[in-house]
Symmetry: C2
Subunit: 518 residues, 2 copies
Amino acid sequence: MNKPDNQSRTEPNAVTPRAQDYSQWYLDVIKKACLAEHSAVRGCMVIRPHGYAIWEKMQRELDDRFKATGHENAYFPLFIPLSLLTREEKHASGFAKECAVVTHHRLKSVNGEIVPDPESKLEEPLVVRPTSETIIWEQYKNWIQSYRDLPLLINQWANVVRWEMRTRLFLRTAEFLWQEGHTAHATEKEALEETWRMLDVYADFAENVMAVPVIKGRKTEGERFAGALETLSIEGLMQDGKGLQMGTSHYLGQNFSKSADVKFQNKDGRLEFVYATSWGVSTRLIGALIMTHSDDTGLVLPPKLAPVQVIVIPIFKNEEERLKIVEEAKKVAAELKSRGVAVRVDDRDGIMPGAKYYEWEGKGVPLRIEVGPKDLEKGSLCIARRFVPEIQGEKPEEQRRRRKSFLPRAEAIASIVPTLEAMQKELLERARAVRAGRTRVLDKIEDFEKFFKEEGGGFAWVHWAGNAGQEEEMAKRFETSIRCIPFEDQLPPEAKGEGNCILTGRPSKQRVLMSKSY
Amino acid sequence: MNKPDNQSRTEPNAVTPRAQDYSQWYLDVIKKACLAEHSAVRGCMVIRPHGYAIWEKMQRELDDRFKATGHENAYFPLFIPLSLLTREEKHASGFAKECAVVTHHRLKSVNGEIVPDPESKLEEPLVVRPTSETIIWEQYKNWIQSYRDLPLLINQWANVVRWEMRTRLFLRTAEFLWQEGHTAHATEKEALEETWRMLDVYADFAENVMAVPVIKGRKTEGERFAGALETLSIEGLMQDGKGLQMGTSHYLGQNFSKSADVKFQNKDGRLEFVYATSWGVSTRLIGALIMTHSDDTGLVLPPKLAPVQVIVIPIFKNEEERLKIVEEAKKVAAELKSRGVAVRVDDRDGIMPGAKYYEWEGKGVPLRIEVGPKDLEKGSLCIARRFVPEIQGEKPEEQRRRRKSFLPRAEAIASIVPTLEAMQKELLERARAVRAGRTRVLDKIEDFEKFFKEEGGGFAWVHWAGNAGQEEEMAKRFETSIRCIPFEDQLPPEAKGEGNCILTGRPSKQRVLMSKSY
């Protein structure tokens, strides 16, 4: 049952190659990086410290952007009375099938078995929030009277629950962590501007922090948020050729203000219903991060989201060496820390350097500094990159050599920040190149079929003029769906212009983005 | 129904004086400061942006301290399977009466009414976590094999639910936000050290950040956390003379590792059960903050927890003045911001300066800077403090004068940081003085009675050697309880030494701390 000591923190945790089994690779990367695992509760995950530290970094970056655009955080109840959730009809039917329902508020021992106390049955069941529009708008009723109270720009960091039958760590779990923005505006124009603005915030975060390129666009009617008039999304392409919806921003019109009866007195003194938006991203983003950048060695992290950007590993053979080397390692770390680098020294006893390299590589740490007796003697340091830009046809051992550089100490220290910045850019470029290689502009259904059935698929720009039934037909035949109707500026030049629906041949004004998806 | 425009954000929200009705005063302060309010869900509060911003400041300060003492954050499921929660017997019976229980996972329309779908009944009910020991230790089983995996030092920021019949904003609500530390150790000694260390972290935070002096001590057996071998707490004294438990740190021994079967291989190769601690503070601390410092004008905040430390208010009569004055106000704010001050300019249109003063005073902002045409002309600024140290017998208008200073611009700007630091100290001193004035060393039950029934009560240091029944007798007669058995160094000199129980006369080794409580 128990593992030998020296393996408990450094067990090999081999990663299945992507090419062999992508789903298993994903789980292996998560396991090796200690990001998350399943729990004793069906469909609920445990986010382990390394995974949570990445989420905290994401939160900080997003929260700064929300505050810079005028939003404040608040907190609303976990529970929503059933009558409140079901007041907006479309919203209710959209979430009814995945609600965790609280019905009792006490336990009792009956014949030695502990059960919910029948006498504690609630008069009205409470739903664990799947999203908070209804409970928040109930509160906004008290906060909004006049145009002077608008816009009301609020965000909430919270856990939500959507009962899912098939779950997958980070991508789809019964409980997940997210942020949900809920804003109220005096005019449709302002609310629409907010909806677009927050999508831009998400796209900026995805590209410039996560290093994941995304396509911005509108969702089709069938894919809209339950209760929204318009749903915008950012869509990323994962390494297996599947699309992933990474964030959504909804224009809710007056649907929720009407169902909660939230009116305001406008500048002319007339009463009007308020215009609303909501927008959210979740811990699903960690899934996107993994599936965009990681490799067969394990997790790869963009420096901006790496809880540890540089790991310093002392190498020594005896106690005398150890003292000197660990001291030097700590000095190096202190110098990097003063330059704003998130750095750690791994001076754990009884674990070989190689095992440490393996562990930190698996955790996605961008840079490793090795400090050994020779380095100390020469006044140099060895820096190893987690990844380098790929060169076509290069052999693994050549790449391995290229990942390491031996530099004079001062030069090495000075190189760290620029190297991290370069790596951040390289990841985005690599992800862009991967996406470009898996993107097609397609006009014939045979080419579409070939792309998705023989060539592994990816993003397909196609003209579409089909109906809901025909969308389903595409899903059945190719497992593809319309990821979004892209904004005009998101289309590559060769995909612009009018044409004919790839399935029906009917005229189409603009291409849509199709792919398989998560 | 609708209020006139100019009142919606500046309505008078008068605060009931403490002396008149303390409970109403507490609610009025919360309302005027826009900290929180009741929600549509029984017992659940909404934390409004200003209240949440204070919580975020608390979180940042606490989180830094947790990380500095080697802890990492993680996230565990909201739901706990009933069988897991009830595995540790004492723990289960301690929480059974206040559990929100999820029994269904889907809704359904039956005769037009939406109800939990009977077919979606869960095989095993799920309890919404009242605390997470059981679910976390179930996970630790996978993480701990060897002494090398210890100590495991984890903290979680989360929402928890304890069904309460009588609720009070921040102090006692069905759902609240908190942090819960859960650590695992190889020896009893290390676990006990951790229990004491985290109590010290809490005490340091209470005194040096919240400016609330606290007494550290052990809880009596009857007040221990369900499943703990030892519960330590910090106890504050509120302005109405009641004690408030502000944080607890528990030594759990091997109770939870035994019920979850978490063993590790020690250095000698033998299998042993792990030793555990848990510790937590919650949004209740915001209640402590309010009740320690606030006055009949509204909220008073220690500068270290003030989301806005300085509010700059431009004063002008016409558009020409407005442009110049607002420009100057923004310059002043920018200079303060560069010194690390959290500053805001209130340049809202259509609200009189007096109304703005009133609003920001109610929100507890420590310093106000008024910028008017004369200040601009003279090159001076007016700084108004939210409070000054009290002088016995001083008239209100004298104090009001003393709160304002008119200083040359550069001097005024340079004075802000030291003034905020001074105010932080003054608050702690004031709270210490209030506590000293309401603390008694008592030996006779008649004096005890007089203190609690005629003099408003407070903290009483008394010798105690009674049993549980006699504790109840004290509760019935005086509404008092043993807040804690203080650590030796927490007793004032005049309270040290042995003596005789105030109720039974039996010999007692040490005094305990008694008070009414929340």
